[in-house]
Amino acid sequence: MKMLINVAETVVADALRGMAAAHPELTVDVENRVIVRRDAPVAGKVALVSGGGSGHEPLHGGFVGPGMLAAACPGEVFTSPVPDQMLRAAAAVDSGAGVLFVVKNYTGDVLNFDMAAELAEEEGIQVAKVLVDDDVAVRDSTFTAGRRGTGATLFVHKIAGAAADEGRPLEQVREIGHRVVERSGSFGVALSACSTPAKGSPTFDLPPGELELGVGIHGEPGRERRPMMTSREIADYAVDSVLGDLRPRGPVLLLVNGMGATPLLELYGFHAEVQRVLAERGVVTARVLVGNYVTSLDMAGASVTLCEADEEMLRLWDAPVRTPALRWGV
């Protein structure tokens, strides 16, 4: 697989150097792998810190800035960051109002963030955590590591970030972040596997005429494989999978997310089909986001995330945000 890189070992550091040069409003510590908004710590405000493996850009670094994250910790490709990174980030952004860790539910992320939380508390930093586990493709049972965190992570960053920006205390910011998770569901499909720089070839074999349903965002295979389907059929399957779990009684936030290698032309066409199914099922979308936000390197495919949003959540969603990957109202 051809890649626009020098060597696999420096992919993350190279990207961080490029990000630093593109975004003077961020402080990018390339050596220690921490991306911090330049004006941090912001007096009196709770600070959101998130992170995870690299390869999901713009998640998480692209969401650092006023109205969203105070800092992000990028790990190696598809590998959670180490506790040292989160500790450094927490120390850099804590104003004394506390730090909220937004953690996607993967064993590695959970273990490393938990270790970091312990260390931060030993240093006198108040830490709370929101665990994002929105992927309905994974059964949440004792037989799995639980649902994965995917598209709803963006919703948590935005809505809890806006709550923090309003000056709400840590417990309230945590509570609203948790509420977003409880009311969200996601489902992803892959038309092709992705290739990690270290491996240089697809991480799983997907025959040309087939697709993976219920795929994750780390190149891990999904739960079911079928002969290739049309955009209409995929939309039916994905939306019904989410609605099988989440039964919204009111308007929803909708994220139609590209996995990295699916053109926006296809993604918008897919969004039209998603809107058709939602209308057929009587679900009204209050806000919509279409684009590549929670990606999986060069995987082709898409995911659908729904979040049943109350008025407060919609107001926080509409609040101003200024980050590399999401900006409005400023």
């Binding site: 590998t79 590695g108 739960r223």
Partner: protein
């Protein structure tokens, strides 16, 4: 008896073995995980080897504690905290003794394995590193070679199991038929231990 030099040789031996086997570990991690186990452990154990050259480690406990801390700070993923906890807890159990017996090491690693199981929430049969570590720590009470064999057998025996923990659990039944990469790297730790013991220079347990 096993002194700090023995533990340093064990850890640098493990680093060399992980380096040689990194591609195989990554291949095993491909069908049921995310194809980076070898890369991540190689990065971690390289840091371990460097740290052992740079820092004073007067006791077996100091060696294991330093190595565990390095793994937590450099590996990432689940493997970093899990392997780091294994070594740190085992190191703590060894106390300040300048030399320890094989039996004492077996008991210390047993405590480490329990800590790993508690942290990751895994039980034997979940298709994780526990399936190699638990029988190996137990067999170490008999001999280094028995521990190596128990670990290797434990790793091989994960093949028909369905994963219940970690990223492999997401693929459900499709994890059946693949040997667990974490159990495989755990077996490498015990292979390095047996090689170190067979290598003499205070490495014998007799």
């Amino acid at each position: 008896m096993l002194d700090a030099a023995f533990f340093r040789r064990w850890m640098t031996g493990a680093a060399a073995l992980i380096s040689r086997e990194a591609d195989r570990l990554t291949s095993l991690d491909s069908p049921i995980g995310d194809a980076d186990h070898g890369t991540n452990l190689h990065r971690g154990f390289s840091a371990v080897a460097t740290a052992l050259e740079q820092e004073e480690t007067p006791t077996p406990s100091a060696v294991l504690t330093l190595c565990g801390r390095q793994l937590i700070s450099t590996v990432g993923g689940a493997s970093g905290p899990l392997y780091g906890t294994l070594l740190r807890r085992a190191g703590k159990a060894l106390g300040e003794a300048p030399e320890v017996s094989r039996e004492e090491l077996a008991a210390a690693l047993g405590a480490g394995v329990q800590a790993v199981a508690a942290l990751g929430g895994a039980a034997p049969g979940d298709k994780t590193m526990i399936d190699a570590l638990a029988p190996a720590a137990e067999a170490l009470a008999t001999s280094f070679e028995a521990a190596r064999e128990a670990a290797e057998q434990g790793a091989v025996d994960t093949t028909p199991l369905q994963a219940r923990k970690g990223r492999a659990s997401y693929v459900g039944e499709r994890s059946i038929g693949h040997q667990d990469p974490g159990a495989t790297s755990s077996a490498l730790l015990f292979a390095a231990l047996a090689e170190t013991a067979a290598g003499g220079e205070g490495g014998s347990d007799e």
